[in-house]
């Protein structure tokens, strides 16, 4: 029981004081559970980052699930997940209630928001560069990227592009493995 309260409390604090989403939380989680509380090892954090890549969903929730599951089974995962979403819900509910998005008429505020959007755009370009470095490995990847991008522009739903990528990847890898097996024979 104590462990559940600890998980809930720690993740509540982490979510409350980390700005910038799940990626920004990983070092804070490491600091809290490895260095301060000493309940996880450094290698657990490596596994945690691996899980965030494998399971669909938000990095923050994945990380919370992982730490909770390691320390106290599925109940721990639940406690940590609730802890990590509760601060967001409280803060955003207050903001949404006080600050209706559609009725912005203040010129200065509009301009400030436009600048913030430009800044977010900069962050996305930076992110795309980082992901792109992992994605483009050989020259074959360039026409492939252009093809997928054209699919997006032709009005294909993003959902189908995600399904297409994953489905094709799975089939392709299975096919290659089968070929290798046959050659060995």
């Amino acid at each position: 029981m104590n462990m559940l309260i600890l998980l809930f409390g720690e993740f509540f604090k982490i979510a409350l004081f980390t700005i910038g989403g799940g990626l920004a939380m990983i070092p804070v989680i490491e600091n809290t559970f490895v260095k301060k509380r000493k309940v996880l090892k450094e290698s657990d954090i490596v596994d945690m980052v691996g899980i965030t890549q494998i399971v669909p969903g938000l990095i923050a929730i994945n990380s919370a699930c992982f730490v909770g599951h390691r320390l106290a089974g599925w109940k721990g995962a639940l406690a940590a997940t609730i802890g990590v979403i509760l601060p967001s819900m409280i803060i955003i509910t207050v903001i949404a209630a006080l600050f209706p998005l559609e009725n912005l008429s203040n010129l200065h505020l509009l301009r400030a928001f436009q600048s913030i959007r430009a800044c977010v755009l900069g962050l996305f370009i930076f992110l795309a560069y980082r992901i792109g470095k992992k994605v483009f490995r050989s020259y074959i990847d360039i026409p492939l990227g252009i093809f997928l991008f054209c699919l997006l522009f032709s009005g294909m739903s993003s959902i189908w592009i995600i399904v297409l990528c994953c489905g094709f990847g799975g089939l392709y890898e299975t096919y290659i493995r089968v070929k290798i097996m046959e050659k060995k024979k």
Binding site: G57, A60, H69, M89, L101, C119, I131, T174
Partner: protein, 183 residues
């Protein structure tokens, strides 16, 4: 009833956002702005900016905001829980069975290729944000202008993203925008 719809809608997003929450951006854009035109592109951008600036996971913030706008507190809870439920269930399942599936070829292929989807999704988020920040589309598609101030802020954000915490960048750019509006 709206809350139930929100719950299912966000469950779908929760299943689809691999490798982090920003994958939700084009999905939510298609549903909120293009299909139902509940929000204008600018308001959607503001919503995402607010989600970035407030503490916590960015897409949890977005889900709460969208839910609250549609159905008050009920909607906020329904959307957020809906977003988290698939992740939670899958995560607990994967943690229990991971060692068995880790080396299956279709699993390996799946995760090799998911990077492509992530890359394309972030590109579409870039196009979306370019339209509502640095590009001036007020005079039609043929006469696109680039807002110099916003363009400068974007370049600054790209250059400093590695070194400066993102919150500081956001506050800085808000101040620049606020200041420029008085000129």
């Amino acid at each position: 009833m709206i809350a139930m719809g929100l719950f299912l809608q966000f469950m779908k997003y929760g299943l689809l956002c691999f490798g982090g929450g920003y994958m939700i951006i084009p999905l939510l854009y298609a549903d909120l702005v293009q299909k139902t035109s509940m929000l204008s592109p600018e308001s959607y951008g503001n919503l995402l900016a607010v989600s970035q600036m407030t503490p916590g996971a960015v897409s949890v913030n977005t889900a709460t905001y969208v839910g609250f706008m549609q159905d008050g507190l009920f909607g906020a809870v329904a959307a957020t829980v809906g977003l988290c439920v698939p992740t939670f269930i899958l995560c607990v399942m994967v943690l229990s069975f991971l060692n068995f599936y880790k080396n299956k070829p279709w699993v390996i292929g799946f995760f090799k290729w998911i990077k492509w989807a992530a890359f394309i999704m972030i590109l579409s988020a870039i196009i979306l944000f370019a339209q509502i920040s640095i590009l001036d589309l007020s005079e039609g598609v043929k006469n696109i202008k680039i807002n110099p101030v916003e363009f400068g802020i974007m370049v600054m954000a790209i250059c400093l993203a590695r070194k400066v915490p993102f919150t500081i960048l956001l506050i800085l750019s808000a101040c620049i925008g606020w200041g420029v509006s008085y000129l």
